[in-house]
Symmetry: C2
Subunit: 334 residues, 2 copies
């Protein structure tokens, strides 16, 4: 049995989703991979619970879900108030797992974890978008893994596919729909709502944020497209990415598309040194015309031709799927 210690930073929906999978599948991971996971720290914005002998995940989930914060959990475990960088440095773990919301400082935590010889698994996009080269180089130099499947298309394994297959193919382009919130709003407009009505509905359902800019202005899709560009071709500066969101799409645009049996989707197109995100018309029966939280990618390459990968692009379990797969990938004997 291989004992693997985990340090989890971020205990929101995804963090708890990962904890739940680790808890429920404990026996299965032992049997299938010969791996026993031990979570030695969990941090939310209120505190870090840290115990080298392992934290009871069932209780951690209960405390967080009952009281909303880990700092209420003081009886059995010591509580610490550490900046994330110190968690990455001080907590002895094999894998540092950063599931905090987008944070421009996060790359420092990842660098610190690499320096300490830890693998890093993350769902946090800004480090990849803005510090790709230094992070990849540091991980390589330290002989550890940097895995980030959850940053694009949730658990749909577009990143693993691009890293582990088609190794003899020259990739020509990747096109896809990577932002489910935009798809939701556009779909509601297809059913007759105005943009503002559709946005409000998305917000009331928790699909869009109170400040929806990162989705409707196209930045979320652009971050994801940048990450795909970097792993497929070479690092590109985010400033060079052309981004236009769906906030300029009118009801008239939707109607005109419908007359041609088309729908509008926020499409990303990734070619070498050229990343464009913009609303585009696609035929209704095209594989690119996704609905709901489905994401899709169409990869074109010189030998294989066209490859379509379609699956969940959001969701707690769906994102936990990526994180847990990445953790296993970091440590399993292949």
């Amino acid at each position: 049995m291989m004992l693997v210690s985990l340090s989890i930073l971020g205990f929101g929906n995804v963090g708890r989703g990962v904890a739940r999978v680790l808890l429920e599948k404990r026996e299965w991971f032992r049997r299938k991979y010969g791996i026993e996971f031990k979570v030695v720290s969990i941090s939310d914005s209120s505190a870090t619970v840290w115990d080298e002998s392992g934290i009871d995940l069932r209780e951690a989930l209960e405390v967080k879900e009952t009281f909303g914060r880990l700092s209420y959990w003081g009886n059995e475990y010591d509580l610490y108030h550490l900046p994330p960088e110190d968690v990455a440095k001080e907590v002895e773990s094999d894998v540092f797992i950063d599931l905090t919301p987008a944070n421009p400082e996060a790359y420092k935590w990842h660098m610190e974890a690499f320096r300490m010889g830890r693998h890093v698994v993350t769902s946090n996009k800004p480090p990849l978008v803005h510090h790709y080269v230094e992070l990849i180089q540091e991980a390589a130099m330290r002989g550890v893994n940097y895995r980030f499947e959850a940053t694009v298309m949730a658990g749909t394994p577009i990143i693993t596919l691009l890293q582990e297959s088609l190794l003899g193919d020259g990739i020509e382009s990747i096109e896809g729909v990577f932002n489910g919130t935009s798809t939701f709003i556009l779909s509601e407009m297809e059913r007759g709502l105005t943009f503002d009505e559709a946005l409000k509905k998305a917000q009331s359902l928790g699909i869009a944020e109170a400040n929806p800019d990162v989705d409707i202005k196209g930045f979320d899709a652009a971050y994801k497209a940048t990450i795909l560009h970097d792993i497929t071709f070479e690092p590109i500066s985010f400033k060079k990415v052309k981004v236009r969101g769906i906030d300029g799409v009118s009801e008239e645009d939707i109607r005109k598309a419908a007359e041609k049996e088309k729908v509008i989707r926020l499409m990303a197109k990734i070619e070498r040194r050229n990343v464009v995100v913009e609303p585009r018309e696609v035929p209704k029966n095209s594989p690119l015309a996704v609905y709901g939280t489905s994401n899709v990618a169409l990869i074109k390459s010189d030998l294989l031709g066209e490859l379509i990968l379609k699956g969940a692009g959001a969701g707690v379990k769906e994102t936990a799927s990526a994180v847990v797969s990445d953790i296993i990938k970091c440590v399993r004997r292949s």
Copy 2:
């Protein structure tokens, strides 16, 4: 630069396709992976050309395409007449590449290559279908790789995806269309041809063999489904696989399906200890309703939900894509 020696068994369409990629992308492989490939033997049914210092692939392709057999190429290289097992054993190579047509004896060659410490890459299905456990165990024991992406869906990386991603997911089922010849015949019947007419057309276009049984009786799809079952769940005896081909599909069946906006496809369904291949109705606008040589797989798992992978299921370049990717995967520093 890492020098990697290859021994290629089988110099038909796929073998030559692989040689062409190795030739045309030589510089790119050096730059991208730091790998220099050297082909030290090529065998067709007429002879084995064997030269430890490396064979000129351009000439090999010319000889084969001009004269139809390698045995005509006697001036520069020594010709050998060796059974495949001896090629696997005697030719010093890092990777033994078996691209011969389905051959029940091939597992012996693979075993021999493993014993000699060579990785094996193959497009040959019977060894996987009938000798999965002993082959996997031997490769593991020798610390070498056994890769066979080309056996299912040509270069569409269903096998790599199942082996390298979704590692925390429990796979519930895989459904898919894995035989393009059946799809071609059914599509032609949708356009009004009888089964016999469609079969003859497929034969005249070289899509179906003179003896078409392996395709139209469902065995090809069943072999592929068995391989997917084995890597996803556990080895299953081919005798337990339920196979019904498209040879019983009538024009009447096609018409009835069309009335319901459906098409008939030869579908494989893979669940734990249960593999079924049979013609089934699928809605015309379903992702499973593929056309041409496209193959599709719909993977259902407990965390991610539904994942669709669609791409080429046949073709020379498309199959070479899988073989070359596998070769690189065997030897690259990851």
